[in-house]
Structure formats: structure tokens, C-alpha cells
């Protein structure tokens, strides 16, 4: 199929439609507006539903309703709006329903700003709402991946009955790139024998519910859910390894940060620094094993993030703090330049000073380095 030039946000919308999603609920917020606008235009033409909800809270609960009926459904928002959705996301997770939530992140906290950010990493990968749960989190790094990972997120969500989140940022949402869209799937549906569709007086009633007042039952549900999470961690980790074959230093970055990092790595290689990149495509499950293996031949790690340093914690955990991990970050809507990342890579290889960091977070190098080497 021929490539078309699309904005990242629109690529998500079109890919969702092609993946059989016919129900979209949202509330206006920058910088994801194009997604809702695209759905508003397209859904009525294809017999789908676009509904502009009264709030993010209502939108996610409409998603909850459609998900209970077993149909593919999504909502999209940006950081402050996704905070509002957390209650509903927790209920959806607690009811074991599939759904797709898109977060085109902007800087925070609070109302923050409208420029790109990755500072919702903790919220996305550690649960976000109340209770013990995970989302499947995918992190696109190009407009092409906005489309591809939308389809993947729907499929994985259906397969495991775990809600998924596409964690993008304002840059990829707003930029235009050529994209090859998948052939449309015939709308719907994986068999969903648990859905509420009316009993037709043919079966006992189905109940979609997250309430378990008996603690033994609730504990059992949690254990079962975490067994599913373990299966996902076994089977669904996705990442890209870039120039890692002979790498002595490992950069870890996702989304737009990974693209900046690739340029910096190319420049560093020209200077003779053997550095590679591990780019998590799934942020949850996180590519722990790939990083642990990298720790066998890499002397140090660098986490490049558009936040005050969130993913860096998972990097350290993945390698059991056996190697120094430092941070190269910008925040509040700023993006590190390739030169800034290159400087950080040089620091890593010189090992004379930790790394460029807005808050002088140098000690992370010494702290984790000293103990384990």
C-alpha cells in the first residue's frame, strides 16, 4: 500500500478505524485535538460513534460501557485529561475489560504547558489510578508507529483483557511523516463470551464488575490478574536495539527522545565511542531482559527523557544497579538537542563527570556505579 503523509494524531485515528474501532469518546485538549477532529469527521460516515463527552471522566466511563459490551473502543487525551480518566481506567482494569487510551503527553504537573513531554511515564507504567494493576503501554517513536502500535495495542488488549495505553508525546502527535497504513480489518470481533449484550433468556446474566467485598475473593482476583501480567511480561516485550552489537555504552530512550538519541549516537560513533540504543517500544512490559543482557557488555547507561527522570528507575532496576546509570533530560516541554545528548554520551565515556542534567543530578552516576563494580 502506498504511503501517505499524515499527522501523528491522525494516523492514530485512521489506524484505530482500520483496526475495527467504531466507538470514540473524548474531550477537547491540546495537543491531541486532531485525533478527535478526525474521528468526528470519519465515524458518522462509517456507521461509527463519535461523541464529545462533557468531561474526560464521562468519556472514560462511556469507554467503560462500550468495553463491557465487548466492542473495540477508545478515548484520547493529553496529560491533565488523562489524570481525570484514572478513576475509569482503574475500573476498566478491575473489570478485566479491553480498551485503548491514548495519551499525547504535554508538560506538567498541574495545567503545565502544551509542549511535548514524557512526564506521565510513572502514571502510565505503574498503574496510574488506585489499586494494583497495569496497563499495556506502547510508546511510538514515529508517525508510522503511531499507526502500527495503535493496532497492536487493540490486539493485545483484546487478547489479555487488559486495557492498553498508547503513550505518545506532543511532538509525534503534531508532526507529519509518510505512513503506510494497514489494510482495514473487517470490523470486529474477537469472541468475547463475557460481554453484556442481553441474556436473550438463553444464559445466566453476565455481570461486569470490579467490586469484591470478600477480601479472599478480591485477593484471588488480584493474583489471577497478576498471573496474566506475568504472561504478558513473558510474551509481549518489544524494543528496538540500535547499534548494540559492540556497544560499551547503552543509551535508553523511547518516543521522540529515542530519535534525538539516534542522531547523537551516530555522532558519538564518529568520535569512536562505542555506544548503542535500546528503545523500549513497550514501556510496560519493560524490556528488562534486554537491558540486563546489555549490562553484561556495557560499562554505563544513559537514560534520555523528556521528564525529570522517571524511566531511569526502571533502567536501574532492570540491571540491578550493576552499572552506573545517568540521566540526560529536559522537562516542561523542552526537548534535548542531539548535541546535549552527545555531550552526555561523552561524559559517560570520559566518566569524569556524570551527565548534563537540568537539576545537576550527577550523584546518580557515583551512587549506582560505586557500589556494584
Amino acid at each position: 500500500m502506498a504511503k501517505v503523509l499524515m499527522k501523528g494524531n491522525e494516523a492514530i485515528a485512521e489506524a484505530a478505524i482500520r483496526a475495527g474501532c467504531r466507538h470514540y469518546f473524548g474531550y477537547p485538549i491540546t495537543p491531541q485535538t486532531e485525533l478527535a477532529a478526525y474521528m468526528a469527521k470519519r465515524m458518522p460516515k462509517i456507521g461509527g460513534v463519535f461523541l464529545q463527552a462533557e468531561s474526560e471522566i464521562a468519556a472514560i466511563n462511556m469507554v467503560y460501557g462500550v468495553a463491557a459490551t465487548g466492542r473495540r473502543v477508545m478515548t484520547s487525551s493529553s496529560s491533565p485529561g488523562v489524570s481525570l480518566k484514572q478513576e475509569g481506567i482503574s475500573y476498566i482494569a478491575g473489570s478485566d475489560l479491553p480498551a485503548l487510551i491514548v495519551n499525547v503527553q504535554r508538560g506538567g504537573p498541574g495545567l503545565g504547558g502544551i509542549q511535548p513531554s514524557q512526564s506521565d511515564y510513572f502514571q502510565a507504567t505503574k498503574g496510574g489510578g488506585h489499586g494494583d494493576y497495569h496497563l499495556i503501554v506502547v510508546a511510538p517513536s514515529s508517525v508510522q508507529e503511531m499507526a502500527d502500535l495503535t493496532a497492536l495495542a487493540f490486539d493485545l488488549s483484546d487478547k489479555y483483557r487488559v486495557p492498553s495505553m498508547l503513550l505518545a508525546d506532543g511532538t509525534i502527535g503534531q508532526m507529519m511523516e509518510p505512513v503506510e497504513l494497514p489494510e482495514p480489518e473487517a470490523p470486529e470481533f474477537t469472541e468475547k463470551p463475557w460481554a453484556v449484550t442481553g441474556t436473550r433468556l438463553q444464559r445466566p446474566h453476565h455481570i461486569v464488575n470490579s467490586l469484591y467485598l470478600v477480601p479472599e475473593e478480591l485477593e484471588k482476583k488480584n493474583f489471577e490478574r497478576f498471573e496474566t501480567y506475568r504472561q504478558i511480561e513473558q510474551a509481549e516485550v518489544r524494543y528496538e536495539a540500535f547499534r548494540m552489537e559492540d556497544a560499551e555504552y547503552c543509551v535508553v530512550a523511547f518516543g521522540i527522545a529515542a530519535r534525538v538519541a539516534k542522531n547523537a549516537i551516530a555522532a558519538a560513533r564518529k568520535e569512536g565511542i562505542k555506544v548503542g540504543l535500546i528503545r523500549p517500544i513497550t514501556l510496560w512490559p519493560f524490556p528488562k531482559k534486554a537491558l540486563a543482557e546489555a549490562a553484561a557488555h556495557c560499562k554505563a547507561f544513559l537514560s534520555v527523557e523528556l521528564s525529570m527522570g522517571q524511566m531511569i528507575e526502571d533502567v536501574k532496576l532492570s540491571i540491578d544497579c550493576r552499572r552506573p546509570v545517568s540521566l540526560c533530560n529536559r522537562a516542561g516541554g523542552m526537548i534535548p538537542s542531539p548535541d546535549e545528548v552527545l555531550d552526555s554520551i561523552r561524559s559517560l565515556s570520559r566518566r569524569d563527570k556524570p551527565c548534563l542534567s537540568a537539576d545537576g543530578q550527577g550523584p546518580s552516576l557515583q551512587q549506582t556505579g560505586g557500589a556494584a563494580q
Partner: protein
């Protein structure tokens, strides 16, 4: 000849409601409406957070359990996904008129084709008797121990009146279940609220004035009397909006014979 039986669309589960609580009557009226319209196999109910949280165990149709106040949004999703199914919510006053007010108003103004059963007992029952958005001025509750002071706590929300000011909704009525006459009328009105949905007419809400003897600190009989003495004067019964009726013969007369306050 059977003269009395349990409605088919109620399960055999034992209700957990307190003695003298009128939730049981309202459950039964909803189930009777579902039975008489023959829609059980085609109906999906949305339970609230509140005393009726476990309504999903009692209604025999497919059920979902919504987050607090979000039942109209969840019902919207279900109805938009399955437009030929009958979707109803069953909500209390804290759920519908406080935390879920936005969802209520917007489902109404969209004229979402769902049926809402709104149980107003002027108190938060499940959490042990706190002030509700519908608690009466002066009403003593756990969180208004000196009586609801309208200067600091504001006034009760009159849901039927409020929603009937919108252009969207099809049908808004208030009924009570504190005596046989009122129960019989409530049955008709609830059935109409379901029939409206079958006919594709749109958002139909029935506010049901209900008793909570436990948290009102009254005997069941005294609680039923209190509905007559205190609740109904503040919350007059009647049909507040009936779009089809007023568009047709122009007769929007209260169905239960009681005049609607202007």
C-alpha cells in the same frame, strides 16, 4: 391461579437492604416493568455506587457496576454500542445528584435513549447516613449534626425540576413509594419510562422518593409518614416533562393527579 409471584427479572438472591427500606419495592417495580414489557433478555442494567451497589446481583438481566456517579456515562456507552438493547441505570441521590451531576445533566440534554431510576431518600445510606444533596433544610445527618444549615451547606437539589428545564429529555417525573396509591402510580410511571425507550423517545428519568428508616432514625412506619409530611411537600410528585405528550394533545397533566408546582 397465581395471584402473586416474584417478578421473573429478579434473581433469587436475598436483598441486603435494611428493614423498612423501600429499595426492595423499587427493585420490584423495575422488574415488573421489565417483565410486563417482555424485555428481560434484551436489557442491560447499570448499578450505582451506594446502597444499590449490588443491584447487579438482584436483576436477572445483564448488569454492569459503574463508578460512583458515572452510571449515565456508562449507560451511554452501552446504548451507543448496542442501540437495540434496553439500558437502564438505578442510582441514588449522592450518586446521581452530587458526584454524578455532570453525567446526569449531559445524558439528559443529549436525550440519550436510556431509562434512569433515581432513588431519592435524602441521605447517604451505605456510608452510614451523611448529608445528601437532597437532604432537607434542617435535616439532621451524621455530617449535618445540627441540621442542614442552608447558609453553609446550601439547599437541596430538586432533580426533576432542574432536568425538566432542559430541552433535551423526553420524560421527567417524580413518584413516591410510601403507600399503596403511590406505589401503584410509581409502577405505571416506571413502566412508561421503559416504554419510552422502546419507542425510541429518549431520556426518561423517574425520581422515586424513598424511605431510609435506619439512617433517618425512625421506625419504618414513621419513615413512610415522614415522606408525606416532609419529603413530598419539598419534592412535589408529578410529571415534570413529557415531550411527546405536550407535542401531541398538549396535555402535560400530571399522571398521578397531583399538580406540578410551577
Amino acid at each position: 391461579m397465581i395471584v402473586f409471584e416474584k417478578p421473573k427479572s429478579l434473581t433469587d438472591a436475598e436483598l441486603h437492604y435494611c428493614p423498612g427500606c423501600t429499595h426492595g419495592i423499587i427493585h420490584r417495580l423495575v422488574a415488573e416493568a421489565i417483565d410486563s414489557l417482555g424485555i428481560e433478555g434484551n436489557t442491560i442494567g447499570v448499578a450505582p455506587v451506594g446502597c444499590a451497589v449490588m443491584a447487579y446481583n438482584y436483576f436477572a438481566c445483564d448488569m454492569v457496576e459503574a463508578a460512583h456517579g458515572r452510571a449515565p456515562a456508562m449507560a451511554t456507552g452501552i446504548k451507543r454500542s448496542l442501540p437495540d438493547r434496553i439500558v437502564f441505570t438505578y442510582q441514588g441521590d449522592g450518586d446521581l445528584a452530587s458526584i454524578g451531576m455532570a453525567e446526569t445533566v449531559h445524558a439528559a440534554t443529549r436525550n440519550e435513549n436510556i431509562t434512569v431510576i433515581f432513588v431519592n431518600n435524602a441521605i447517604y445510606g451505605m456510608t452510614g447516613g451523611q448529608m445528601a444533596p437532597t437532604s432537607l433544610p434542617g435535616q439532621v445527618t451524621q455530617t449535618s449534626p445540627y441540621g442542614r444549615d442552608v447558609l453553609t451547606a446550601g439547599y437541596p437539589v430538586k432533580v426533576a425540576e432542574l432536568l425538566s428545564s432542559l430541552d433535551g429529555p423526553e420524560f421527567i417525573a417524580r413518584v413516591a413509594v410510601n403507600n399503596v396509591k403511590n406505589v401503584k402510580n410509581a409502577k405505571k410511571v416506571i413502566e412508561k419510562a421503559f416504554r419510552n425507550q422502546i419507542d425510541g423517545k429518549g431520556f426518561s428519568l423517574v425520581e422515586v422518593i424513598s424511605a431510609c428508616p435506619t439512617n433517618w432514625g425512625m421506625t419504618p412506619q414513621k419513615a413512610l409518614d415522614w415522606i408525606d409530611e416532609k419529603m413530598i411537600p419539598y419534592y412535589p410528585l408529578g410529571v415534570y416533562k413529557d415531550k411527546s405528550a405536550s407535542a401531541g394533545a398538549g396535555s402535560a397533566r400530571p399522571q398521578n393527579g397531583q399538580e406540578v408546582q410551577p
